[in-house]
Symmetry: none
Subunit: 225 residues, 2 copies
DNA sequence: GCGGCGCGTCAAGAACACGTCAAGATTCGC
DNA sequence: GCGAATCTTGACGTGTTCTTGACGCGCCGC
């Protein structure tokens, strides 16, 4: 779950924000001043921070700098004062966004989504490790049991990708052919036979007795780890 | 130089922005409507886009979506209308920031800096040292094994930058062409062949047996240290 | 036991992708 | 406006990959 650190000394606003954010299924952590905010962030690093200016103890810029010293988590600054110099200072200190009070809740939520979207570009980290090889789909890298790289041709990658994405699930001939070669090749099952054989020769310890690329006669193939 | 695409049908504002941005040493490209903006971006991909809502031809959301279809370049939206629904729509479409007119120039500049800062997270891993060269992405400096400087052309830099940012990851032909030349050049794989060859001639000890710029036949290229 | 069917294997030709080179076109600085 | 650097474009040789057809084996129903 996404954790949001909320820093504000206005109890009412804090309450309103907490309710709204919790309803959107964010995990909310609150602090009423800068010092406890920094301590809290260090202990349980948030995925995003919302910081009100005009805290009782620390300057907003100080808090932002304190966070930016060790984390790149998105920071959204709230403020009642609409001074342009303050905006520039806090943005240049490392804040990602600056919202002037009063603001609409929907707008703030949209800005939160935008900031979080930027922060997590690649969530699909798919690495499959077996006794005989390591498969990194994102980096398109395959290494054998002794650490040597294994080279696959484009169609072999494509084929393996489809099978691995449907791990442990049976993928029919038609679906496989459609996804790799296109809808016009739905019936060319010999393509599958040839390329599956090549794949097995590269990743199976005993290509004749496949452990990972299983044939389901008459139906399709299945990848299993 | 950092290139900013400026889309607005208000000639006065366009002029004022262009002057201010140029003074800050940004390269400015302008368009007066959404269609030419998208075409322009496709031909010369910008590092940041500033888009005014209320363009004569296309909806702001459409323009943002058109860009987001192929690039993650930061997008800042300007608008006179202060409707919250519009803000939410365009932010959720993929815009990074939303500034309401009238705005202070200093604030906009600060928001531009913030957006650009986020877009280049590779500043912390900017120096790559290998047995054959030292590469400093931030300073755009490349030195050979004996300490002599190596000169790269703009496209060579761009190409190397994309590959190094995705270090150890395989970057497909399409992605590479899109990021360096723009989506209109998706199929010009010979560009890659030529420029990769030039790059290798400059940084590989044995250009015919590349150690760092690995080609994955039929798929793309990979930088590895 | 027999024949059909699906599967794995193999090999050869066609098609494709890559690296390389060189000549025009374009851009940029002076 | 000129010259140099850079980028685009086309062509060619080489190596790899894909397609295509043929063959044998094992399983299953008959």
């Amino acid at each position: 779950m996404t954790r949001i650190l909320l820093v504000d000394d206005d109890t009412h606003l804090l309450r309103a924000l907490r309710i709204n954010l919790t309803a959107r299924r964010y995990e909310v952590v609150t602090a009423a001043d800068g010092t406890t905010a920094l301590a809290l962030a260090a202990r349980t690093p948030p995925d995003l921070a919302i910081i009100d200016l005009g805290l009782p103890d620390l300057d907003g810029v100080t808090v932002v700098e304190g966070l930016r010293g060790w984390t790149q988590t998105p920071i959204i600054v709230l403020s009642a004062r609409d001074s342009e110099a303050a905006k520039v200072a806090v943005l240049d200190a490392g804040a990602d966004d600056y919202v002037t009070k009063p603001f609409g809740m929907d707008e703030l939520l949209a800005r939160i989504r935008a900031a979080l979207r930027r922060a997590t570009p690649g969530t699909d980290i798919a690495v499959i490790t077996t006794a005989d090889f390591v498969l990194d789909l994102a980096a398109k890298r395959l290494t054998g049991s002794s650490g040597e790289p294994v080279r696959l041709t484009p169609t072999e990658w494509h084929l393996l990708e489809v099978l691995v994405r449907n791990r442990d699930k049976l993928v029919g001939h038609r679906q496989l052919l459609q996804e790799v070669w296109g809808p016009a090749y739905e019936t060319e099952t010999n393509y599958l036979r040839v390329h599956l054989a090549n794949l097995r020769r590269k990743i199976e310890p005993q290509p004749a007795r496949p452990r990972y690329l299983i044939t389901e006669p008459g139906i399709g193939y299945r990848f299993t780890a």
